[in-house]
């Protein structure tokens, strides 16, 4: 059953999906090991999203330690932040744009150690796949 994007249920389902993914378990095995790998996804208002949403995804060693929508554009537990407009996120989650391309061409803003992020491009691609594979009702869909 499709879950509404932006709800606590959707965030929990995402953490479960990450933990069920053998692809992420392998690709993300070294992500968050020895450094803070928690990601803050900033879905900035635009298109069908009237108000920005911020998802904190806790990640360490190929596992998710939980996911939650947080109120503000930053969070003390986040090691990295990825900021993009909601329409761009939809392109990425729809497979039309690679997240790496969005980052490397500056369309997606990154806060945190860019080198660490780029080194683990495979982990993040796998993570994006977990998000896009989740049965989701997005705003406007």
């Amino acid at each position: 059953m499709a879950l509404d994007f932006g709800t606590p249920e959707w965030a929990r389902a995402l953490a479960d999906a990450v933990n069920a993914s053998s692809e992420y378990r392998n690709a993300g095995a070294t992500w968050g090991v020895g450094f803070n790998g928690n990601l803050l996804f900033a879905f900035e208002a635009g298109g069908a999203l009237p108000k920005s949403l911020y998802l904190l995804l806790r990640l360490e060693g190929g596992r998710s330690r939980g996911a939650e929508f947080v109120p503000g554009p930053s969070h003390p537990d986040a090691g990295f932040a990825l900021r993009a407009s909601f329409p761009l996120w939809r392109e990425i989650l729809g497979g039309k744009t690679l997240a790496a391309t969005a980052i490397l061409t500056g369309r997606m803003k990154v806060e945190g150690n860019m080198v660490a992020l780029l080194k683990h491009a495979g982990a993040h691609r796998s993570l994006i796949h977990c998000v896009s594979a989740l049965d989701t009702r997005f705003p406007g869909s």
Partner: protein, 465 residues
């Protein structure tokens, strides 16, 4: 018949051809990505022909694109509607000075022919590219790197003197002192300021035999450690290394299973020696810690220099030589090299290397004085080349991955080697050349004020009076 054909033919000794006489291969280059149909193709007989052709092009508002062996992969060595100057007709080895030692050659000389010409004298250019089928003028215009570059820099670093026909049709002799801006602007200058017609190349004495140690490394850190030792020790004449995939099966990548590999790192360390005086293996390999020492090969030096020819012949016979080549070659800062290589190789399908390979070439920054061969700061550098041969029907699938690879290497401080797949906006060109961008633009305006030479590759900004 094109009315310009006879007019130009009357002015030059070499041959002029029209598109209907054009060999199809001349419509593209090794990349097989960009295509163009020139209005006229000129095979010059001399530097005078080149100068006359450039003057003619200016008079008639045509561009001039130079082509050697056409090994570039982007918008070089092809022409759309202009004059394609096919330099392979200028292929004379002019004079060898054994005392200097130097050799004067026309720009269309193929490196293999030069190597064979010099072999009886036991002389050799200090740096040779892996592919010897390319021309002197072609590689000098890009930079020219090879397995001895860690000692001698680029091929351009081993040039004494050049004759260059500028975009105004003037023939200029230049070296490190005379017309030095044109000299340095022609080496790795992408043919933007002038067309090299003659080069005086440094040579070095060689020994008749080589011994190559085939070493294998199973991880990048140990490979890098030994590559640095091999370079710094001064024991070896040539260093060649790769990433080599051992396929492991299929793994999901963004939900779709694709082949993946465990990567190993073969390193070939080569020394020259005289007959009857083989090198001391233990002394040469002291301190190196390969995973395995696989093989030790003795071969005549000429065979070593041509070692890649059978590989390329195999690729030609297999048909992959005609595939799309979108090579991403980057010179990386040593301290970032492992990050980049380890980010890229795990997800690189080994199948992409059918008819291609992943090159790693350790290098030293201080060996090159070239102004336009851009490389990161620092003494130790690692060249990283992903050199695939892609069937044309798969190009659009492979393209995002390769473009990301280019962006990634640049984001992590790498500088691209410009014979590969480059399709940049002005911003990326500016970033590539850094503080050399403005001098490069000034050079273009001075020597090619009408922007007729090799258009379509570097997007020079329009001059503002």
């Amino acid at each position: 018949m094109d009315r310009l054909y006879q007019l130009l033919q009357n002015r030059i000794e070499g041959a002029v051809a029209t598109p209907d006489e054009l060999h199809p291969a001349l419509r593209t280059n090794f990349g097989n990505l960009f295509h163009g149909t020139p209005r006229l193709v000129v095979s010059p007989a001399s530097a005078r022909d080149v100068a006359q052709t450039v003057a003619f092009a200016r008079e008639h508002g045509l561009s001039v694109s130079t082509r050697g062996a056409g090994h570039s992969q982007s918008r070089l060595a092809i022409s759309e509607g202009g004059i394609l100057l096919s330099m392979t007709s200028m292929r004379r080895v002019l004079a060898t000075d054994r005392a200097a030692p130097t050799v004067d050659v026309e720009a269309g000389v193929v490196w293999r022919d030069l190597v064979r010409h010099l072999a009886p004298s036991e002389l050799v250019p200090p740096v040779l590219t892996n592919n010897l089928s390319v021309t002197v003028g072609g590689t000098l215009a890009i930079a020219g790197i090879g397995v001895a570059s860690f000692k001698y820099g680029t091929q351009g670093d081993n040039v004494r003197e050049l004759d260059v026909v500028t975009g105004t049709g003037e023939t200029v002799t230049c070296d490190r002192k005379r017309n030095a801006d044109l000299f340095w602007g022609s080496l790795a200058g992408l043919g933007q300021a002038g067309i090299i017609t003659r080069a005086r190349l440094d040579l070095r004495k060689t020994k008749p035999m080589t011994r190559t140690y085939y070493l294998l490394y199973r991880d990048l850190p140990s490979f890098l450690e030994d590559a640095k030792l091999a370079m710094d020790s001064g024991r070896f004449d040539f260093i060649e290394s790769w990433g080599s995939p051992c396929p492991q099966g299929l793994k999901p990548v963004a939900g779709r299973r694709q082949p993946f590999a465990r990567w190993f790192y073969p390193v070939h360390l080569t020394v020259e020696f005289d007959h009857g005086h083989p090198p001391d293996d233990a002394k040469l390999l002291r301190g190196l810690k390969p995973f395995e020492r696989l093989y030790t090969d003795d071969a005549p030096t000429i065979d070593f220099l041509e070692r890649m020819t059978p590989v390329f012949d195999l690729w030609k016979r297999g048909g992959t030589w005609r595939h799309v080549h979108a090579w991403i070659e980057t010179v990386l800062p040593w301290e970032r090299a492992a990050d980049v290589v380890e980010a890229v190789l795990p997800d690189l399908p080994p199948s992409i290397l059918v008819g291609g390979h992943v090159l790693l070439w350790p290098a030293k920054g201080s060996t090159s004085q070239s102004r336009l061969f851009m490389r990161p700061p620092g003494e130790h550098l690692l060249g990283f080349g992903v050199l695939p041969a892609i069937p044309a029907r798969f190009w659009e699938t492979a393209r995002p991955m390769l473009e990301n690879l280019g962006h990634l290497t640049e984001a992590l401080g790498g500088k691209r080697y410009l014979s590969g797949y480059i399709d940049w906006s002005e911003d990326r060109w500016r970033a590539h050349f850094g503080d050399q961008w403005e001098p490069f633009v000034a050079l273009k305006r001075r020597y090619d004020p009408d922007s007729i030479l090799n258009p379509g590759f570097v997007p020079f900004p329009a001059a503002t009076d």
